[in-house]
Amino acid sequence: MEKIIFYILSAVILSLSLMSVLSRKLLRSAVYLFGVLTAIAGFYFLIGYHFLGAVQLTVYAGGIVVLIIFSILLTHDIDHQMPTPDWSRVAVAGALCVAGAVMFVQLLQGSLFSRVEAPEQSDLNTVGNTLLNPGGGGYLLPFEVVSILLLAVMIGAIVIAKQRHSVDDSSPEKQAP
């Protein structure tokens, strides 16, 4: 049963990500990306990491995709069609990616990972204790660094996106024909 679900999920992930990359409509491409991220959250649930799946759903599928769709709607009209990329670029990129994918999958087939049989410790208590443990094997310092990063990004995003009233309001009108 889990096997069938895994195959369905991976088919959804691969086909939707391909459609997201190939679609010429911008908004549709974002919706395909939403499908990919939700399917990945389903994969995390399937593998047994429920907390990670929930975080993936809320932050990625709930936050990032909404942010992307917002920016698309702010900068384009709804049925904006992107021009098809020129064939030389498509050929070079496609050949590069197919070659890379074939090489990596070939390398994977030859590798023997010895699966470790150990007691499962993936419940939320273990995750929380490891995340906030200042001692050996703990992740308290990266946790704090990420919190500082989030604060810095918040301030930076406000500063970058802020409307500047003094100088820049006049300059686009001068350049306009």
């Binding site: 096997k3 895994f6 991976s10 992930i13 691969l14 990500s17 391909l18 997201s20 990359v21 911008l26 491409s29 974002a30 990306l33 990919v36 991220l37 990945i40 994969f43 995390y44 399937l46 593998i47 990491y49 990670l52 932050v59 990625y60 990032i64 992307i68 917002f70 900068t75 992107m82 990329p85 990129a93 496609g94 990616c97 197919v98 994918a101 994977l108 087939q109 990972f113 699966r115 470790v116 150990a118 499962e120 410790q121 993936s122 273990t126 995750v127 490891t130 995340l131 094997g137 992740y139 990266p142 990420v146 990063l149 989030l150 990004v153 930076g156 995003a157 996106a161 820049d168 686009p172």
Partner: protein
């Protein structure tokens, strides 16, 4: 682990997803779609972390935490990129990479 599914199959899926992202990154010209391809690549890497944690080190949650940090950093990156895109659109009314050359001068 998922019964009946080997690690190789999960890694194959994440590899293919990563290279689909690379293809989008190379062919797209719109900044927002480039950002979306970047998300695909990041998610392929996160799947790798989770799969290795589940199959090779099931006693420790380290890979899971790496995926968590990756999601946090991706959220930061998208927030900044969206701010830059909005600002660019306000200045030059375009978000194509070929028209964005205001940092050149």
């Amino acid at each position: 682990m998922i019964p009946g599914v080997s690690l190789i199959e999960i890694l194959t899926v994440s590899t293919l997803m990563f290279f689909i992202g690379v293809y989008g990154f190379l062919t797209r010209k719109n900044l927002i779609t480039i950002l979306m391809s970047l998300e695909l690549m990041l998610n392929g890497a996160a799947i790798n972390f989770v799969a290795f944690n589940k199959y090779l080190y099931p006693g420790q949650p380290n890979g899971q935490l790496f995926a968590l940090f990756l999601i946090a950093v991706a959220a930061c990156e998208v927030a900044l990129a969206i701010a830059i895109v909005i600002n660019l659109y306000r200045k030059i009314k375009a978000v194509d990479v070929e028209q964005v050359n205001t940092l050149k001068h």
